[in-house]
């Protein structure tokens, strides 16, 4: 009976495969699966078998049924779609299926994460509400330092901590620097801190809540060329082939030397246009970690050095070709017409 079943299966599969139209398939289906079909004809002898055999044949019969069923379904599908059997119009509209969209900020965050993970960066998350110590003081910005004016800080209405100071909404992802040093304790460090930041301003190019990503690398003999290499790599990966980076002098309290980072303008490929300054666009700050910051994180500045950079996610997103979003408040507006484009 086993042989009978297997023969039946092979024969049936061949016939199904050769079928040329749907009517023929229908005939085949009836011929095998119908009440008087061939499968039932074979199976009606099962009760006569030994129990052991019964079990074996039963299982086989199930398998044969499944195989034929699948083959019939597949062939039916194939013949239904075939232009030979029916009028086929590929220009007819498709069925409307549910279509959701990731937010552009998520798209950028994922891409940035992937790029830096490739070169060994560890993504971390640090508090959005943090102590003045981590946001400013440990970053070489004592109370009353004029450099603090650069950040439009939002303060929380809570009592100050005797050692760590006021509670604030972090103005930059740099609050992760000393926190990461405390977590890792001994270098190497290759951190990617990515999260929400807040500053007291809101207009077409600033939102009170925004996102930054912060890179921090600490090890022995980390040099300016290492920073340049990392920036060039990011530029190529994120903005595209042929994009170069450039660093220019700047000043931050928590890095020494400090840099302003530019990338080749993607709108004009570096030729110079109305979106850029002579072929370059500013992306944000970077620098070599200041020895005082290493000390605040209990890392010996005589043994280790490092670099850091921190930029706006919204900023790099807007510099992507085709994404020159004129009012970034749209990002946080739950505007469906905007979101559906991504």
């Amino acid at each position: 009976m086993q042989t009978k079943l297997l023969n039946l299966k092979n024969q049936a599969l061949a016939l199904i495969n050769q079928a040329e139209n749907l009517q023929e398939l229908k005939r085949l289906r009836l011929g095998y699966f119908g009440r008087q079909g061939q499968i039932n004809q074979v199976l009606k002898d099962i009760p006569k078998l030994e129990p052991e055999q019964k079990k074996k044949i039963g299982r086989l019969a199930n398998e044969v049924k499944t195989a034929l069923e699948q083959s019939l379904t597949a062939k039916t599908k194939q013949l239904s779609a075939s232009p030979a059997s029916a009028w086929f119009d590929p220009t007819a509209p498709g069925e409307s299926l549910p279509l959701g969209h990731l937010h552009p900020i998520t798209l950028a965050i994922e891409e940035i994460t992937r790029i830096f993970e490739h070169i060994g960066f560890t993504r971390v998350r640090y508090p959005e509400i943090d102590w003045d110590w981590y946001v400013f003081e440990a970053l070489n910005m004592p109370i009353d330092h004029p450099a603090r004016d650069e950040w439009e800080t939002i303060f929380i209405d809570t009592p100050r901590h005797h050692r760590l100071g006021q509670m604030v909404l972090t103005t930059h992802t740099s609050n992760g620097q000393v926190r990461e040093m405390e977590r890792v304790k001994t270098p190497p460090i290759r951190m990617l801190n990515l999260g929400k930041c807040y500053r007291r301003q809101q207009d077409a190019t600033h939102t009170i809540m925004f996102h930054q990503f912060e890179g921090l690398v600490i090890d022995k003999n980390i040099s300016i060329p290492n920073l340049k290499g990392t920036l060039d790599y990011f530029g190529q990966e994120f903005f595209g082939k042929g994009i170069k980076s450039r660093i220019r002098p700047f000043h931050f309290q928590f890095t020494e030397p400090s840099f302003e980072v530019d990338f080749t303008c993607t709108a004009c490929s570096g030729k110079g246009c109305r979106f850029c300054k002579a072929g370059w666009v500013e992306v944000g700050g970077a620098g070599m970690v200041h020895p005082n910051v290493l000390k605040a994180g209990r890392i010996d500045p005589n043994k280790y050095s490092g670099f850091a950079f921190g930029w706006g996610v919204e900023r790099v997103l807007r510099l992507k070709p085709g994404l020159n979003i004129d009012d970034i408040r749209l990002l946080y507006s739950t505007n469906l017409e905007f979101l559906n484009q991504f």
Partner: protein, 603 residues
């Protein structure tokens, strides 16, 4: 801070063969960034961004000095002309000083003053007027213009008093709380205390030092004799006063950044010369110079090895020395105008590197060890959840953590920008008012006494008005996570803590063997009492016997509910006899626990 400098003024201090565009490009690469170069009728205007550490560059001469160090690296000739530091101090004997001066040395690091007598107050020459205007300073008269012109030229604020309006004495002291002064702009300030002020013999305040002079001692068209006044102050006091009074002037911006006290005397001498030239005024007293702690040259030693390591290149000591010399550093001695900015070897590294040219340094990703101690986060899963939800047709939105509504247990903002953003939300639900199905993963904030608030990462699915659909989304997500989610629901939203998902979900299922025996399906219909929860009913059926593979609600009509029950065994084909006792048990369980009645007969 940005300053604007005309090319014609710059070349008064800089002799170079570089054209304006080249000067702008080279400065931007190696020094202060030229944000804009504008061509005017017969000149060029540089708009230059000067960083807070470079108070020495907030002037025409400061920029000229930078350019004289930078341009030769690009093959241009460049030399600083009329370096004010090189002008020898003249010692003109003149009349005694007419005022009695008392200075608190903790507040004022250097105090200089001189009388200029018989000035003629009139309009300034055209070129002075236009230079001031290019820096957005209004030309008033030659006397006031001199003070502004000196500040723009050298980066040292200068004040002039009408000498005849000061009563015999000047006491530079810190203010007492609630003293008042009316400044030149006519504004009256109630002082908080500890502000640097000058009082005269009548104890009238005549100067709010470092911010603005007093109206009562100001120069007017009738003024005959003036006091030319050049100082440096304690920057901390200046900054506090400026912040407290919300009053900032060009002078404040400079004074709060510790300008060079060595610059004070040269500027005073330039001032005397300018008064002679523009007002016909003569020096009418000896020069007062109270300078209790003169500048001692500062030494910062920097090992060549450190420079080589940070720059990642081979560079020789003579080349380093040459670069530093072009900036005024000689044998580890820091020039006075850089003293507040250069403190550690890394500061010297920056000077060498930028003048050498950052653009000339190599570019190379570090070849050091890759860290392996990861944080406890699972960013990948967060993203996977987002992908699944978009696959189900939901849109991701980002809403603001700051909210307008005051709910119990929310943190409050001390300096809210607007009433829309006064609190930090402790729930995502009020933020999700949109009408379309959406989701968000974001923090909520929960205060803890004496500590930072707990930042709880939550997933919200919202805007799904049809509850079975919302439940369906949760079911799909549960299936994907191999973990049954139990969110907090309201009519159109579900909220789940991410930490629970991360802790309980699995990337892979516990694999179940695939049965080769056919399943048996049957429908059982029960009449349930009103308001019976369906979840426990389904769970009760499901847990009746291990042969029950699944239970699905397939039909409801009034209080009648039909459940499709699938039985399957891994080891055999099930017969009616196998099922009968299980069915019996289901029926009795539901009867006892839920007062549910089976419709139809048991057999």
């Amino acid at each position: 801070m940005n300053i604007t400098i005309p090319h014609s003024w710059l070349t008064e201090y800089l002799k170079t063969d570089a054209l304006p565009q080249k000067i702008a490009d080279c400065l931007s690469l190696c020094g202060p960034s030229v944000e804009k170069l504008t061509k005017t009728k017969d000149d060029y205007l540089y708009e230059i961004e000067v960083t807070t550490n470079r108070v020495d560059c907030l002037s025409v001469m400061g920029i000229a000095r930078e350019a004289s160090a930078i341009l030769p690296r690009f093959g241009f000739s460049a030399r600083l002309k009329h370096d004010i530091y090189q002008i020898p101090t003249r010692n003109i004997l003149a009349d005694l000083f007419p005022l009695k001066i008392t200075v608190d040395p903790k507040l004022c690091f250097r105090f200089t003053a001189v009388v200029i007598k018989n000035v003629t107050v009139k309009a300034s020459p055209k070129n002075i007027q236009s230079r001031l205007e290019s820096a957005n300073i209004r030309s008033l008269n030659n006397v006031i213009d001199i003070s502004n012109y000196l500040m723009l030229s050298y980066g040292q604020p200068v004040h002039v008093f009408d000498l005849d309006k000061i009563k015999s004495q000047m006491i530079l002291r810190s203010s007492r709380p609630k003293e008042t002064i009316t400044t030149l702009d006519g504004k009256t300030h109630l002082l908080p205390g500890n502000d640097i002020v000058i009082a005269d013999a009548n104890n009238r305040l005549i100067d709010l030092c470092g911010i603005m002079g007093g109206l009562n001692s100001s120069v007017a068209p009738q003024t005959k004799n003036v006091l030319l006044f050049v100082q440096t102050y304690n920057p901390v006091n200046i900054r506090r006063t400026s912040m407290n009074l919300a009053h900032r002037t060009e002078a404040t911006v400079i004074f709060e950044k510790s300008p060079d006290p060595e610059l004070v005397m040269p500027v005073l001498l330039q001032g005397i010369a300018l008064f002679k030239k523009l007002t016909n005024g003569e020096q009418g007293s000896k020069i007062i110079d109270i300078y209790p702690h003169p500048y001692k040259p500062k030494i910062v030693k920097t090992p060549l090895q450190l420079i080589k390591e940070r720059l990642g290149i081979e560079i020789t000591q003579p080349e380093v020395d040459k670069i530093l010399k072009s900036l005024g550093f000689i044998n580890n001695l820091v020039p006075s105008w850089r003293a507040q900015d250069i403190n550690i070897p890394e500061d010297i590294v920056e000077e060498v590197a930028r003048i050498y040219g950052y653009h000339r340094l190599p570019s190379q990703i570090m070849a050091t060890a890759i860290p392996t101690n990861y944080s406890g986060e699972n960013f990948h899963l967060e993203h996977q959840i987002k992908l699944w939800l978009t696959g189900l047709g939901l849109n991701e939105i980002y809403t603001n953590s700051l909210v307008s509504q005051n709910r119990p247990g929310q943190l409050k903002i001390k300096n809210a920008l607007s009433s829309d953003w006064q609190y930090l939300r402790n729930s995502l639900i009020p933020s999700h008012t949109q009408s379309f199905p959406a989701f968000e993963i974001a923090n909520t904030y929960h205060p803890r006494p004496g500590k930072l608030p707990e930042e709880k990462l939550q997933l919200i699915i919202s805007g799904v008005r049809d509850f079975p659909r919302l439940k369906g989304i949760i079911d799909v997500l549960s299936a994907k996570l191999h973990y049954t989610l139990s969110p907090a629901y309201n009519s159109s939203a579900a909220v789940i803590d991410l930490s629970t998902i991360i802790k309980n979900s699995r990337a892979y299922p516990h694999y179940q063997p695939v049965s080769s025996h056919p399943p048996m399906l049957e429908d059982l219909t029960f009449t349930l009492p009103e308001k019976t929860y369906l979840g426990p009913i389904i769970n009760t059926i499901k847990s009746t016997h291990r042969l029950i593979k699944s239970v699905q609600l397939s039909k409801t009509y009034q209080q009648n509910y039909t459940f499709t029950i699938t039985y399957q065994s891994l080891s055999k084909d099930l017969s009616a006899a196998d099922i009968a006792p299980i069915r019996k048990k289901i029926v009795s369980n539901l009867k006892i626990k839920f007062k549910a009645d089976l419709i139809g007969e048991l057999h």
